[in-house]
Symmetry: none
Subunit: 418 residues, 2 copies
């Protein structure tokens, strides 16, 4: 089965936005056994869109369109499909009601311009969008199946999974299953070395590694005619990867470091607080983005101003004056102050220089002290030097802190929890 | 002058990499007065590449190709061009010498596989690549000018500026300038209604709106023969947009809500703290992701556990028992507690139900109270109902809080700051 992906929008063709939807959809299609032939990005132009749809339907069995379903005059996908189908646009009453209801729920009246989003080319079917106001569309163009989704990534992804995945299941005659094994704490070449001959290009399941934001992901792709064989081979390969990489692995699929650390906290009935300077609330924000995190997250402090460090965390002003806020004694004092104050089991403290200003020869931008106060044993503290700009330093510092907590909980679990 | 951009590579069509080259080139072309008609991404396939080149040359005056110039068997751009031109590949001695010299400089011998990079379709011209081993190509396909660059972004960008920019200078007879005006606090259709006839498709500068994460962006495209006229029309249109949308607009270009609020805090020499429940540190994290935010950000609290709300923010336990944490009195008490405690000018508090659990009939998931304690006047507090899942509720709540602070600082500025 072959697919073509069309992305509609002036902002894409003008280079104001990068089209990330096409890559996401292609990757998902590949996992479902559908080969993407090409992507095309077209301006908000009726004739160009209609022409691109016709060409795509001639080249593929499946045509996916994103964008051009909004409420404004530059949203022309509905009209372009009507043109290709040689039909008219009709008002779809149920969609209009849903759009009205969506606005009602937000406590706002529906603007008249949103009416156009309820227009459907005759011969096409409306797809309900529970994430936004723009319904999708489904129709046949010649022998090809076409689905049109909104360009907003969250809405597109929701509708892809809702409407396309079930329609494709079992149609392609082969089963391609994929899994992602997530690791943190080692570089890509180091991970690849530990995987050894598992990385051979002629292996099935086949492995590949990608690096993003300090996370090294091992992607596994199992490709068999038989679904059960594909599943068994995938599971065996993933288990072998996990055996070779040990505690570098924090999970599979879409798991995050915060979810992995959170699951360990919940399983061991332990609590945590955070005390942050350079990450400015990022560690707390990550910990609390996990549903159910109130079971173990008591809270946290961001102590940017020096008198907040002293008043909230009892850091002696002499210590700050002698060592500076980015120092081992202050990192320890912050972690221990937060733990004591909240009566928590664990307390993570992060103090560093995120930049662009504030660096020095002794403490260049990227210098970060991370400390972990814990129920037993002395407070752990380590100095790190992270590369990159402010965003990157903050991101790596937060992830390294979460990983420290995770590793500590894993070590603590040995022998104490079955 | 019209352009088509072709990106060649299995990794792009499979969705393993996002194509950022096309957006970069389109933006640069637009600034040079060249309108991109479409982008197309094609697999490493000889026939598909040749067909795409022919179609592109028929649709545009300028065809830019990236990728497929590497040394391995899947790099087929050279052969595809020879096929389109109906000629053979010939060894280009000067290019071979340059490739050898490039490796010599790295202290390595040239691998035999790199020889193919010195092959040139007869009738085309080799373009020296000083950033890597793959030379580019330039030729005419019918009436269109075609340039092929390597896919490595750094090499592509270097060659674009070296070979294309001088060739286009003064040839296009037009200048296209773009700007993005960012708004928060109203829906896309509402923004479009307020812009009225500015949204007409036949207008120049032309407007388009896009929605992402609650931010509605008005994109403006000014297209004139004369650069000065394009700039003047762009400025006038942006000013008119800002007049019509008023304080909904928080900035132009890549500005964020936190940068806009931060700039106002800095200009007015005011300080801020945050007290968060459902956003769990996200508001603090956003405020501190702005370089220089330590000038106005004193710090913040995440008070997840009830006894932290009481102990850190002096919220009376009876108030919590009577109204619950997600309530107007608690939101006000948190904001005022944080402001008092830190001696800050402003204090933002966010308490709500991010989900998936915790909702009720009276307070469904998405219910969020946001309060702002301030130097003069009573504490502001409002109830919001945000749609979507946990991530979306947290994201919208954090942005709405930052926008409340921004709006308050704007109002405070009236009359007090010139």
């Amino acid at each position: 089965m072959k697919a073509v992906i069309l992305s509609i929008g002036d902002e894409l063709v003008l280079g104001q936005n990068v089209d990330t939807n096409s890559a996401w959809m292609s990757a998902r299609l590949a996992a479902l056994g559908v080969m993407t032939v090409y992507h095309q990005t077209i301006a908000d132009d009726l004739d160009a869109t209609a022409r691109a749809v016709r060409d795509a339907a001639a080249a593929a069995d499946l045509v996916l369109v994103t964008g051009g379903l909004g409420p404004t005059a530059d949203d022309l996908t509905r009209e372009a499909l009507a043109k290709v189908l040689g039909t008219e646009l009709e008002l779809h009453a149920a969609s209009l009601e849903r759009i009205r209801a969506f606005f009602l729920q937000l406590g706002r009246p529906m603007a008249e311009t949103n009416r156009v989003q309820a227009l459907c080319p005759r011969g096409a079917e409306m797809l309900h969008n529970e994430w936004g106001t723009a319904p999708g569309l489904r129709c046949r163009v010649g022998s090809a199946l076409l689905l049109a989704f909104p360009g907003v990534p969250r809405e597109m992804k929701g509708m892809f999974d809702r409407y396309l995945v079930p329609a494709l299941a079992g149609q392609t005659g082969r089963t391609i299953l994929t899994e992602a094994v997530r690791t943190f704490g080692a570089g890509e070449s180091n991970v690849a070395e530990r995987l050894g001959e598992l990385m051979r290009r002629d292996r099935n399941p086949m492995l590949g590694t990608t690096a993003s934001g300090g996370v090294i992901t091992v992607r596994v792709r199992s490709d068999f005619p038989d679904g059960e064989a594909a599943r068994r081979a995938l599971d065996e390969t993933c288990a072998e990867i996990e055996r070779r990489l040990g505690t570098l692995v924090y999970g599979r699929g879409e798991t995050t470091l915060q979810a992995a650390a959170g699951a360990l906290l919940a399983a061991r009935r332990r609590t945590v607080v955070t005390v942050e300077i350079c990450t400015g609330g990022l560690v707390a924000s990550l910990l609390t983005d996990v549903p159910g995190s109130s079971a173990y997250m008591l809270g946290g402090w961001v102590v940017y101003a020096n008198d907040m460090k002293a008043r909230e965390m009892d850091v002696p002003p002499e210590m700050l004056a002698a060592h500076g806020a980015v120092s081992e004694p202050v990192a320890r004092a912050l972690a221990e102050g937060g733990r004591r104050r909240a009566g928590a089991d664990y307390s993570l403290a992060v103090t560093g220089i995120a930049g662009p200003a504030g660096g020095s020869d002794q403490k260049p931008v990227g210098t970060v002290w991370i400390a972990l106060a814990r129920p037993a044993g002395p407070t752990l503290a380590a100095r790190h030097q992270f590369p990159g700009d402010r965003d990157m330093v903050r991101d790596r510092a937060a992830k390294t802190a979460l990983n420290l907590l995770r590793q500590e909980l894993l070590a603590f679990g040995q022998g104490e929890v079955a």
